[in-house]
Structure formats: C-alpha cells, structure tokens
Amino acid sequence: MLRQIEGSRAVAETVALCRPEVVCAYPISPQTHIIEAIGVMVASGALAPCEFINVESEFAAMSVSIGASAAGARAYTATASQGLLFMIEAVYNAAGLGLPIVMTLANRAIGAPINIWNDHSDAMAVRDAGWIQLFAETNQEAADLHVLAFRLAEELSLPVMVCMDGFILTHAVERVDLPDQAQVDAYLPPYEPRQVLEPDDPVSIGAMVGPEAFEEVRYLAHLRQLDALERIPALATAFEEAFGRPSGGLVSPYRTEDADIVIVALGSVLGTIKDAVDARRDAGDRVGVLGITAFRPFPNDAVREALSGARSVVVVEKAFSIGFGGVLSTDVAMASHDTGCTLRTIVCGLGGRPITSRSLEQAFAAAALDELDSLTFLDLDHEIVERERTRMTTTRRSGPSAENILRDLGTVASRID
C-alpha cells in the first residue's frame, strides 16, 4: 500500500510485519523513531507476540538479542554510530556464534568530535565482524531490504545489518509502498534455528576454540558469506516475484553498459550521483553508476563485470580510513585490479556535509578529463585547514582543533554556497 511516510516509520512497520519476537530498544539519534514506532505497535497489541525490552545500553541491546536468538526467537534491534561501537564486542560475538539477528544501522558519523549526522564511518567500523551488510538507496529499499534480511539471515544463520543513511533517509518523508502481512508471511517463513537452547536436546554453545580449530571456524564463516553472494540475487528475484517490484540484489548498475567512467557508491548519495551523471551524459561524457547494495559479502565478480568496459572508476565515499585513504575504494580496487581501470576516490558527506550535484558534476567532469586527483575531499575548505595547521605549528598549546575551526567558521552548521 502506498504511504507518504517517514523513512523510520516505514522501516518500523515493515519490520513489524516480519513478526520479530524480541525487540531491544536503546535510543540514539537518528534511530529513535524506528524503535519508538515499534514500541507503540507492541504496546497496542498490533505487533504480538513480541517482547519489547527497554535495555540499558546498546551493549545490552545486542546481548539481549543474542540470548533471544539463541533461544529460538526472531530478534531485532537498531542503532547507529556510538551505539554500534558500544555494542561492537557483541556484534562480533553474534556473527561468530552464527545467530540470525537483523539490525538497522541508521548510519551516522563517529566522534570525537561528536556529530549526529550521516556518514558511513559506523558501518565501516564493523565491516570485518562477519555481518552481512546491505545498503539502502531509498526509503523503499530500506523497508524492503528488511524483509529480505530476515529471510537471508535465517537461511544462512548469519546476522544481517541494513544500513540506511541517518536523517537523509530515516527522517525523510517519502512515498513508500508498504507490503501487507500476507505478502510478508508468504515470503518469510517462521524462524527455524540451526542451533537452539532447548532442555530436550541440550548443547553447549560458545565454546573456547584454540589454534587447532579457529582458522577452520573463520573459514567456514567466510564460506557462508560467500554463499550469500548466490542467495542474495535469488532472494531478490523471489522478492520481485512476491512483491511486484525489484529490490535488493548485489549491485544496481545505471547506464554502465557503454560507460568509460563508472561512479561507485553506497546508499542514498546514489540518487544525487545519478542526477549528476545524467547531466554529464547530456554533456557528452560516457559515464555510468554502480550502486553497491551488498557491501558484505563484497560482490567481487559483479563489480568486476560492471567495470570491465570502463577505463576509470571513481569511488564516491562517505567514509575514510585516516592515514590511508578511502574504504570502499580499497574493496573496489581489489575487485578491479586486473581490469586496467584507474581508480579515483572522492570523499564527501563526512559528518553530514551536504553533497551537491554541482560539486559532483564538476568532479565527474574533471574525471573525464583525467584531471581528478587520486584522492579528493569534496568541497574542503582549504583556508580553514591552513589556518589551523599554522596555529599548530606556531603554538604548542594551540587548543582543540574542532573548536578552533568552529570559531573560524562562525557557525555550527556547514555553509552552503
């Protein structure tokens, strides 16, 4: 059913249709509306049977989910940024134990300095934890990916996180086609655990594994993620059949068939990128876009195939590995290393900095002329940077950088020209 609805709410309602049995709630911007909405549905009886638990921290949220999942219940929670880091021990633990928990990650920057706006640093911080990570481009996709996520998680016995850009998607009111209960029930069967805590068949879960077997356990987890590379497209196809619209899949290419340059990105920025790419196409550049939906497992083959005809790849990313370079870029570089493509990285949107189509168009134009640096921080205010560097070299007690820059800017929010 078509609804004009806030992204968080769309996700909440869709998750509710997936019949979660234990939902853990710990608030952190920008995820709060998701769990609040679910809480209301549980309280009113609209979502039942369901245990809605107000936990005392994100660490508890993931831990309660672990316990619930191990005892055979479908478990769900949501978090962002600092909260994800606070639960990171449990995030790794859930994957290591093979528990099919689904979590919404409302992508948000990680401090210090504290920042509640969107970027992908939180998702990148846990990319090695063993979770499947899916990135939604739109609110529609954010809602739909949750349905697929539960089914995927339970089939493979791996936890899945659905990433949606904080504020940009979570707080945007858009048109979304929400499924109904019957559709979801037909697509998503009840949870059949691979292992469960059960007095009639006792087992010990969570043994200590030493050098003699640890490598094999890790490899098995890797193989299961690789299995996902087949399952995700299959489940996406099944989704389209069931719900009548495409959603999910490993990658979503746009105008890549004859592209010289392919722009690669994750998440909502793809919308702006497509607008910029259309403009460049109109200007005569043969440029295309590859949106990556499944970031983990990383779809090496699909990416390589999409890039095989291009001579240049530009990775637009909202995350950055301090002291090194782009994060997504590294994965893309690995996937495309023998295609002969050059690779350029554009870092943008950190801490919620708006990404304008004009800036992107300029960057893409430069790329077409081979004039794009290998690493570009989009719309960086070099003057501010220089002023702070000078301060630091001239005075030992130069003070906290963040506060100095804010004073220089004279404003908290970023400037828009």
Partner: protein, 342 residues
C-alpha cells in the same frame, strides 16, 4: 533460616546426606541420580571451589525446575574450564557470549522463552565476581531494574582468577593479587574499596537476594530452591574459594569457605524484596586469624613482621558484620541496606 530441623542423626543437617534420612531430608547432591550439570573431565584446578559451587547450584536449580533450565555463562574460569573445544562438561543447555553481558543475554533468553510460550523453562545466568561486580555491572543493574525473570548467580572468588589473579571490585582489603601486590605500607588490596553486590541487589528491590558458601550445602540448595519458586530478578552470591588464587591447600576449599562464614567476614543471609529476612548464624565464632593464616594471599600479614594492625582492621570488619546482620543467633539483625554506612 535453614529449614532443616536437626534430628541428631549423627551428622544432622550438616553433611551431604545420611543413610538414616529420608530423601527429602537429604541434599540434591546425595542423590545418585543428580543431574551432574557440570560433569567430570572439566579443566578446573584441583579443589576448585567454583566447580563445586556451580554443580551445587545448577543441580539444585535443575531439580527445582524439573530439568527445564537454560544456563547463560559469562567469560571466566567457569566458562573456560568447562568448554574448551572439543569438550564440554555441561549436561544442560548452555550459552556463553561475552564477559560483561551474561545478565543481558539471560534477559534475552527469558524473553524468547516467554514469547514462545515456554513458561516452564527457567533461566539461570552465572558469572564470576569480575563479570558481576565490574564489567557486568551495567547489564546486571539493567536486568534487576527491569525485574527480568532470571536467577543470576555470582561465584565470588574475589579476583579475576582466570587471567592470573588480578584484583576485582570484590577483592577484600589486604588481599594480595597480581595487581595489588603485597608491597609497601598498604600491602595488598586497599581498604575502603569494593562493592557489596548483595546489598546493591537489595537496593534494586528485587524479589530475592541471598548469599551462600560452598561449605553449607543444605543452605545453598535451600536458597536455590526458594529462588526458583519466585519469578522476576533474583540474585545469589556464592563464596567459592580458589586454592590457586587464595594460596590455600586444594583440600581446604570447603574449610576456608566455612571459616569465612564463621569469622563473620562473609555474612550468609537472605533478603526478600529488599529487606533481610533471615540469617544463617555463626556456629562457632572464630577470630579472623584462623581464616587469614591458611591463605597465601594474606601471608604478608604474618611471619617475621606481622601486620597485626591490618589484622585488627579486618577483625573490625568481621565484628561489624556480626553486629549489622545479627550473625550470632542471640543478637537481632540491625540491617537497613539503604541506611548502613561502612
């Protein structure tokens, strides 16, 4: 307090069993068909008090729940020595997640069982003192505050033993650990620190809180039984000597626990809804020296330059406990958990 009346069957209510007692007068442990929840082949040290305490508590919980029990375990000695791949000593459904999250994981298990309509299956969470008092404290308090239906058992051996005997928030004053060595004027752990978890639990007004030791099996089992009769958050704090960490003889484990109680250093009591309702009285009041002198972690208090000043302070602590809790049968209890100052 202890509901067993003494029938003068030689060993009365103190020994594990007695050929002259009916089955219901004996402990769960005396039953040859006891669950042996923690079975042979585990890698605990010789004479490990925690291995004993765990089997005692979980077997009793299994009896009380008619075998419908799930256990969640924090990281620590108990978890490590009981489940090294490929061997597990647990005969019951058991889950280990992390060091600090046992209470939260148990909350999750309980929620799942509830939502699945398996109300007869009960949940026990267990952790050492480190996992309860320090790193698990946040989750524990959350579980208490929500009154989740979990029996949380803390096996208190008064330090982080599994990592090599380091100080925890439960380490008693003057005790030597690897991070509070017996060096300098304040030899061993400092005075005036530490958390009284049973009183903190009581401050949450949860339905049932009790302390126990491995030296009094009847009392321990009775408390598990009583705890299992109630639903909601329950807390059991069991003193379990560690021969390695305490520097006591492996054969002395039960004796040391007994002395901890008989000196008054470890008060054994139970509390319902935040108020102390019963005390296990001291049978033969004993000076703290007898307890301290058989443990290597207090060796620096004796010998050539005995620290009688420190021993006196420890004795004062014991005396205070005796007064506060009324541990000598003839003295009434004087405990108001929210009002007691240390």
């Amino acid at each position: 307090m202890t509901t067993q009346p003494i029938h003068f069957y030689q060993v009365g209510s103190f020994a594990v069993g007695n050929r002259l007692l009916d089955d219901d007068g004996r402990t769960v442990q005396s039953d040859p068909n006891r669950t042996n929840s923690l079975d042979s082949g585990h890698r605990a040290c010789q004479g490990c008090g925690e291995a004993l305490g765990a089997r005692y508590a979980i077997d009793a919980a299994m009896r009380a729940s008619q075998g419908r029990l799930v256990a969640v375990n924090a990281t620590g000695c108990l978890e490590v020595f009981s489940t090294p791949y490929p061997e597990t000593s647990w005969r019951i459904p058991w889950l280990h997640s992390l060091f600090g999250n046992a209470p939260a994981v148990a909350t999750g298990v309980a929620a799942a069982l509830k939502v699945k309509g398996k109300s007869d299956v009960r949940v026990v969470a267990q952790a050492g003192d480190g996992g309860t008092v320090d790193i698990g404290f946040g989750c524990l308090s959350g579980m208490f505050e929500r009154n989740d239906d979990v029996l949380f058992i803390c096996y208190d051996n008064e330090a982080y033993m599994n990592t090599g005997v380091q100080r925890s928030g439960a380490t008693p004053p003057a005790a030597r650990t690897a991070t509070t060595e017996a060096i300098g004027s304040e030899a061993g752990n400092a005075f005036g620190q530490g958390k009284d978890l049973p009183r903190i639990a009581m401050a949450h007004d949860i339905p049932y809180v009790a302390t126990a030791t491995v030296a009094d099996l009847h009392d321990l089992e009775d408390k598990v039984e009583r705890a299992m009769q109630v639903h909601g958050a329950r807390y059991l704090h069991i003193l379990v000597p560690c021969p390695l960490g305490w520097g006591s003889a492996s054969s002395d484990t039960i004796r040391v626990a007994r002395l901890a109680k008989e000196t008054g250093l470890f008060p054994v009591f139970e509390a319902v809804d935040g108020k102390v309702t019963g005390v296990s009285p001291i049978r033969h009041r004993t000076p703290v020296e007898e307890y301290l002198s058989i443990q290597g972690r207090y060796a620096h208090l004796f010998g050539e330059h005995p620290r009688t000043d420190i021993i006196a302070r420890i004795q004062a602590m014991a005396d205070r406990n005796i007064t506060t809790y009324g541990l000598l049968a003839e003295e009434p209890a004087d405990i108001d958990p929210k009002g007691v100052d240390v």
